[in-house]
């Protein structure tokens, strides 16, 4: 990676890639049903023309440019073109409602915006009075925008064409562009990533160019990624994960990035592309497993038996084989047969056949879910990190996987556990500061320059790997003194395909309670098979048989909690099924689908009071926000159910 080390900005890396891998594919995009390909040479030409066009529209060094939309090559090139000119891209979540969008755009002082389509243009226009600095908007998809006022609005294609013609006519412009690229330094602001705001208003994390490149170089070396690898770009552009794994790693290692046709087709496109590097949050793996299990329920008896028989084989031997441990010959033979009959076809259906390295992070992944994918031969690993670190702090090395840890500390990362149990770090990709927020920056740092993560964890003495327990502020105790780690219990609940989301309460209470969201796919399928008629999510969620089914899941969870001494005290005594799905538009979960616990507790106060008050049902009415920003009120009567808990065995009962 010496070449990468020499190039200290992304545009310089792009030029290097265009020189070394001119004819290798760099970007793919499925358009009108056909995969279009651009080589590194072509991407450089496009980005240069785009940069020239943007500079003719007035984009200058130091300006910020918002990038809003799904994963499309032209939006990725918007990053490159902006960075060539020394402008700073600010990606924003495409599904952000107008108000959130306005906050980020206003806070980051954007002068330009590169957006996907009419929907995003409309959103920006609707809040334009809050964005006095915004001068120009460029868009990728012209549909529906023909009759708009085009004085400050341009199609990206037109900007690129304009830039290309200007470059062809005027060689001085090309030289000026080269000088701009040359003038870029490693210490420049490379990007501002707004955090999803698990803990309140989002903050703009400023990252330096050299920091980004150094961090990405470390992991590219760690996982031996090169120009022959391929990844599918389907994660939100504004998320550090996408910017790191896809944008930064692709430029550092020159691997090819494939953009799906649309968000809905991502999983089908993945099957066609066959990526070698794959990242997905646990939720996606959960959905994959749920889908497989549901389809197996509908399969014929022979297939079902074959499937379950070989899954048992995989459970016994799969992970050991993947880790390169000793496995009896019979085990290996059975596993090979399973690969032929079950695991191989299964991975193919899921688009995982070619995957060499898969990562998951963002939430703790259920150990059973994790080992399911590993046992069928997917090299799935966990990593731990955050936006402020430019993602990676720890990652599991190939072959040394302990599912309850998040892996070993990365090279060049200095990680320590504070007195309070909080994880703190210094890392190559470490952020420069929060944009326009000195106070928050200072708050996030220790006096000696370490960054606080806010997570409680410890280094496992046996393996030397990091273990994360929970957000430091979330871990609590019941009034009886028993340890209460909500996320730990929620993860156990969420492993049931029928449960999509769970929020567990119990800190400073007498016992633990849970609010559940059903998974509409799984429960809907069950309803279909059992002739349960329902008209809406709300109706299905309140169905007595659904309650019965989920009560069994909660009881099983209690039984499993009872097995673990530390957690046995925090079994769930009462639960309810919420009448609506927790939704980012209502602020109940973040855009990255993490539950905002305190907000949910506040919003559903009457339900929590009822959970602890002993009532058998409670009324709730909440404000909901529709996708277009309008608001409505949703009222419901929610039933509450008691469940059996397992008596905690007296400690040491079975010893000796």
């Amino acid at each position: 990676m010496s070449a990468a080390a020499r190039a200290d900005t992304f545009p310089k890396l792009l030029i290097r890639n265009a020189r070394l891998f001119a004819d290798r594919p760099a970007y793919r995009h499925k358009d009108l049903g056909i995969w279009q390909v651009w080589t590194w040479g072509e991407v450089l030409a496009q980005a240069r023309a785009y940069a020239a066009g943007l500079s003719r529209l007035g984009l200058q060094r130091g300006d910020t440019i918002a990038i809003v939309g799904s994963n499309r090559p032209r939006l990725y090139w918007s990053f490159m073109a902006a960075q060539m000119l020394g402008a700073v891209p600010v990606p924003v979540y495409a599904d952000a409602v107008a108000d959130e969008l306005a906050f980020v755009l206003a806070h980051s002082d954007v002068r330009f915006a590169a957006v996907e389509d009419q929907e995003q243009v409309d959103k920006i226009l609707s809040v334009s009075e809050r964005l006095p600095k915004l001068a120009q908007v460029v868009y990728d998809e012209p549909r529906g925008l023909r009759d708009y006022d085009h004085s400050r609005l341009h199609a990206i294609d037109d900007v690129i064409n304009d830039g290309r013609e200007a470059l062809a006519k005027d060689s001085a412009l090309g030289q000026k562009l080269d000088r701009e690229i040359e003038a870029g330094q490693g210490s420049d602001r490379s990007v501002i990533l707004y955090t999803s705001g698990t803990t309140g208003q989002s903050k703009g994390v400023v990252l330096s160019a050299i920091g980004c490149i150094n961090a990405a170089s470390d992991t590219v070396a760690f996982d031996e990624l090169d120009e022959r690898d391929e990844a599918l770009a389907y994660l939100p552009l504004a998320w550090v994960g996408d910017h790191y794994l896809n944008y930064a790693q692709a430029l550092v290692s020159a691997f090819c990035l494939a953009c799906p046709e649309s968000t809905d087709t991502a999983m089908a496109d993945m099957k066609e592309i066959g990526p070698t590097f794959f990242f997905a949050p646990p939720r996606v793996f959960e959905q994959m497993l749920t889908r497989v299990m549901i389809r197996m329920e509908d399969a014929g008896a022979l297939k079902r038996r074959l499937f379950h028989a070989f899954l048992a084989v995989a459970r016994r031997h799969g992970e050991k084989i993947l880790n390169g441990e000793r496995v009896p010959l019979v085990g290996r033979a059975l596993y090979a047969l399973g690969e032929l009959l079950v695991y191989g076809p299964l991975k193919n259906v899921l688009g995982l056949s070619q995957v060499r390295i898969a990562y998951t992070a963002g939430e703790a992944i259920g150990p059973d879910l994790f080992s399911f994918f590993r046992s069928i031969g997917l090299n799935l690993k966990q990593l731990y990190g955050q936006t402020e670190a430019f993602l990676y702090l720890t990652a599991q090395p190939d072959g040394k996987i302990y599912s309850d840890t998040v892996g070993a500390v990365m090279n060049n990362v200095d990680l320590r556990i504070a007195e309070s149990g909080e994880v703190q770090f210094k890392s190559p990709g470490q952020f420069v500061g929060y944009f326009k927020d000195e106070a928050k920056t200072a708050e996030a740092m220790t006096p000696d320059g370490y960054v606080k993560t806010g997570d409680a964890g410890f280094i496992d003495p046996k393996t030397g790997h990091l273990k994360i327990i929970d957000r430091a502020k979330d871990v609590g105790r019941l009034t009886g003194g028993a340890l209460f780690a909500p996320k730990y219990i929620e993860n156990k609940l969420k492993f049931y395909p029928n449960i999509r989301e769970a929020v567990v309460f119990g800190d400073k209470c007498d016992f633990a309670t849970a609010m559940l969201n059903i998974d509409l796919t799984a429960v809907g399928n069950w309803a279909e098979r059992n002739n349960v008629v329902y008209g809406s999510y709300q109706e299905l969620a309140a169905h007595p048989q659904v309650y019965e089914m989920l009560a069994r899941h909660v009881e099983e969870t209690n039984a499993s909690l009872a097995q673990e001494q530390a957690m046995a005290g925090a079994q769930i005594k009462r639960f309810l099924i919420l009448h609506k799905e927790l939704d980012a538009d209502d602020g109940e979960v973040t855009r990255t689908q993490k539950v905002r616990r305190s907000f949910v507790a506040e919003r559903y106060r009457p339900l929590i009071d009822a959970l602890y008050g002993g009532a058998s049902e409670a009324d709730i009415s909440t404000e909901v926000t529709f996708e277009d920003g309008r608001k409505g009120v949703l009222s419901a009567r929610v039933k509450i159910r008691d469940v059996a808990t397992v008596p905690v065995p007296a400690a040491m009962e079975k010893a000796a």
């Binding site: 358009d31 049903g33 549909r143 529906g144 023909r146 046709e261 649309s262 809905d264 089908a268 996708e627």
Partner: protein, 266 residues
């Protein structure tokens, strides 16, 4: 988008004129002496209470029913007896009140079926699928893919339509009608049975079709909000008789309409 025959019609000119049309089934008078026109490039709504003769009117326009009296002029040509496929060849496409797709075929194949009339090569050529037939199929597929992209149904391209939810089936049906590249698109209750979100999507698509392809649209719809938002002009029928015709605002203020329809049902 060129008219295959007849003079070129500019936007705003009359595309289709219905003069004094009457249709009866035995003793039941479905439509009585109705006259109106549809101008090129507009979205024209036909509303009215149940049994007002709206669908009969559409069926008359696309040649499914033959009126006993009256005259229909399409693209400047008064037309005599005409069968639906002739109307289709002439540039009139439609969707149906009850989705009428080929349930066992994929969304892609259903929309492809909309191009049948545009195919120049015969059955035999298409069967062996070489040379000109293959080139032609590629061309048609390209057009169909543009429509799929337009309607944002890439994710259901290869799924049999019978398995799709109702809202998506309606969208596929619209796609099939669009595949004919019609001059006049007839939509029979495009939003019936949809939820709010699906209605909003469909409204957006109808406006986009009108804007992007410049297609003239005549639609029957019961949702008044949708009708008032979408259409340029509204024709109101009651018991087969025209009782009002004008802009949404005019129609809304019309006392006869309020009595016959809006006042009662809302």
């Amino acid at each position: 988008m060129r008219a295959p025959h007849g003079a070129e019609i500019a936007a705003g000119d009359v595309l289709l004129a219905v003069e004094d049309v009457s249709l009866a089934f035995g003793g039941v008078k479905a439509v009585t002496g109705v006259s109106f026109d549809i101008r090129k490039g507009e979205i024209r709504a036909i509303i009215g209470p149940n049994g007002a003769g709206k669908t009969s009117m559409l069926n008359v326009i696309n040649g499914f029913y033959q009126p006993q009296r009256g005259r229909i002029t399409f693209k400047g040509k008064a037309r005599a007896q005409m069968r639906p496929y002739e109307a289709a060849l002439g540039g009139i496409a439609r969707t149906f009140q009850n989705v009428a797709l080929f349930k066992g075929m994929t969304a892609l194949d259903n929309i492809m079926a909309g191009r049948t009339l545009k195919m120049r090569r015969g059955f035999f050529w298409q069967l062996i699928r070489v040379g000109p037939a293959l080139t032609e199929e590629r061309e048609h597929r390209h057009r169909v893919e543009q429509i799929i992209d337009f309607l944002k149904i890439q994710h259901i391209r290869k799924i049999p339509v019978g398995k799709l939810p109702y809202g998506l089936q309606k969208r596929v049906e619209l796609g099939r009608a669009l595949a004919m590249e019609p001059d006049l698109l007839l939509l029979d209750e495009p939003m019936a049975g949809m939820n709010l979100e699906e209605k909003e999507d469909m409204s957006r698509f109808i406006l986009d079709v009108n804007d992007h392809y410049g297609t003239t649209i005549a639609l029957i719809e019961h949702d008044m909000g949708v009708v008032m938002d979408l259409s340029d002009r509204v024709l109101v029928l009651d018991h087969g008789v025209k009782i009002a015709d004008g802009t949404p605002a005019e129609v809304q203020a019309d006392q006869a309409v309020i009595d016959a329809y809006l006042g009662v049902s809302h």
